[in-house]
């Protein structure tokens, strides 16, 4: 099942497009990291997938084809917006009760146990909890709904390192226990490297890249060699980013079957997730025509030997 599927999804506010021509498919059972600079369209994409915002163009479906925002979608998707909105004047206990009444499925014992583990008192007003506690409360309420898809909009931004790890550990545990799929956005790619196995890169309101992290890393290499030969090889290879020194040049290339072996005298290194993402963010437009942007299932042919 594809947990998220969009087809030329777009959103316009007034004259400017916040997101445009976004077509992607996210298979279930993954944690998809949504990365990109501010204003790239991450929140817009998430809002549309969660059914909060209606699309101006294209369609978004979730959980195997249900239109975003439909009753079946609302039932199976839990969304935690940026800054983890909670009702400031309600206590955590009230929020539990409220969420239970607004949903068909709610695991109250789980929620209570989790809040007790976290040391979040049930009778304190939510507005008086710390930022980390509010985020954990929002996550608890979302997880207690037993969703099939969890959408988290920049949940880590305001958290200290310890709170960040606790939050991510909770999400990972929920994935392991319940098989829930996750879409999580963040500014920082580095901290996502351990937890993400699917990557979506947005920049300037457009999709730059979408695919499984394994495919992504296997499908790119950093070639280092003499600058004098760089141009010659650059034409033959799909170069995502070039870093040129007087004597030495680094080419971040996308590998494919037709690319051929590493040129003699050149070195080939693996790339890190952050390197690849940064390269695509700095060179928008490179990602579009390639098969990697529309990965449906792992493609063994993409790998190099």
């Amino acid at each position: 099942m594809n947990v998220i599927e969009t087809s030329e999804l777009g959103k316009r506010y007034g004259k400017s497009w916040a997101l445009r021509d976004c077509t992607l498919t996210v298979p279930a059972g993954h944690l998809a990291a949504l990365v990109g600079p501010n204003g790239a369209g991450k929140s817009t994409l998430m809002n549309m997938t969660a059914g909060l915002t209606a699309a101006t163009a294209g369609i978004a479906t979730v959980l195997g084809g249900h239109p975003a925002g439909s009753p079946a979608a609302l039932n199976g998707v839990a969304f935690v917006a940026q800054d983890a909105p909670v009702y400031r004047n309600l206590s955590a206990g009230d929020m539990l009760h409220l969420t239970r009444n607004l949903n068909q499925r709610f695991d109250t014992p789980f929620a209570r146990a989790r809040l007790a583990d976290l040391g979040i008192p049930l009778n304190k007003k939510a507005g008086k909890l710390s930022g980390g506690q509010q985020s954990q409360l929002a996550l608890t309420l979302a997880l207690a709904r037993r969703p099939r898809l969890l959408i988290l909009d920049e949940p880590l931004a305001a958290l200290d390192p310890l709170a960040r790890q606790d939050f991510l550990a909770a999400v990972m545990t929920a994935m392991a226990d319940d098989g829930v799929s996750v879409l999580l956005s963040s500014h920082q790619v580095a901290e996502l490297e351990r937890v993400a196995d699917f990557l979506i890169v947005l920049s300037r309101a457009r999709l730059q890249m979408a695919g499984e992290v394994d495919d992504l890393l296997a499908g790119h290499r950093l070639l280092t060699g003499p600058t004098a030969e760089a141009d010659e090889y650059a034409d033959r290879l799909t170069v995502v980013q070039t870093r040129r020194g007087d004597a030495q040049t680094h080419l971040l290339v996308r590998t494919s079957e037709t690319a051929g072996p590493v040129p003699p005298g050149w070195e080939s290194h693996q790339v890190s997730l952050e390197e690849v993402v940064m390269a695509y963010l700095r060179s928008p437009g490179v990602g579009e025509p390639a098969p990697l942007t529309r990965v449906q299932r792992p493609q063994p042919t993409e790998a190099t030997r």
Binding site: G29, H30, L31, Q165, L168, A169, M172, T173, M175, A176, D177, E193, R194, V195, A196, D197, E212, D214, D215, L217, A218, T224, E267, S268, H269, Q270, S272, P298, Q299, P300, E302, A303, T304, R305
Partner: protein, 163 residues
């Protein structure tokens, strides 16, 4: 503060800066534990859920590592119970280890005398290591073997340093 997970014989740890893919680090740690005798056939590997909670990594990564161990014949999953060790690796005895270590120190002394510094030694050793295993037929060790998955680790062990 002691965190006692109880059930399993070993605990995993991660080295985020090593450049080795996470799942491979887990595989290597299991193999290492097998070699040193920390793990015996029949022992249960840590539950996916526990690994995920303590290391904050994607459960699919752990599953991939365990699948890899299954593929190598070192472990087997029992539905509803977990993953268990079912074979051993050749164990290197302590005297053998001591001898190898002495030889290595001798080589290192020669390398230093030839003028290599630490990074030079690492680079030389890494490229030699890679070449050595590349030319071997597919075996139990992670190398250039075809695993049938999408990810091929061409840098199976350690980083390829930028020379």
């Amino acid at each position: 503060m002691t965190i006692d997970k109880g059930d399993s014989a070993i605990e995993f740890r991660l080295d985020p800066d090593s450049g080795v893919p996470t799942y491979l680090q887990l595989v290597q740690q299991v193999e290492h534990a097998l070699r040193l005798g920390y793990l015996q056939p029949g022992d249960q590997l840590p539950k996916v859920r526990d690994v995920v909670t303590s290391l904050t990594i994607n459960p699919n990564t752990v599953l991939k590592a365990y699948r890899e161990l299954e593929h190598k014949g070192l472990a087997a999953g029992r539905p509803g119970q977990g993953t268990f060790i079912q074979a051993t690796l050749e164990q290197v005895t302590l005297p053998e280890l001591a001898g190898l270590r002495r030889t290595l120190l001798g080589w290192l002394t020669s390398a230093e005398q030839a003028g290599l510094d630490e990074d030079g030694i690492v680079a030389l050793f890494t490229s030699g290591l890679r070449d050595f295993f590349k030319n071997r037929p597919a075996s139990g060790d992670a190398g250039a073997a075809d695993h049938g998955t999408a990810n091929h680790g061409t840098a199976a062990h350690g980083t390829e340093g930028v020379a």
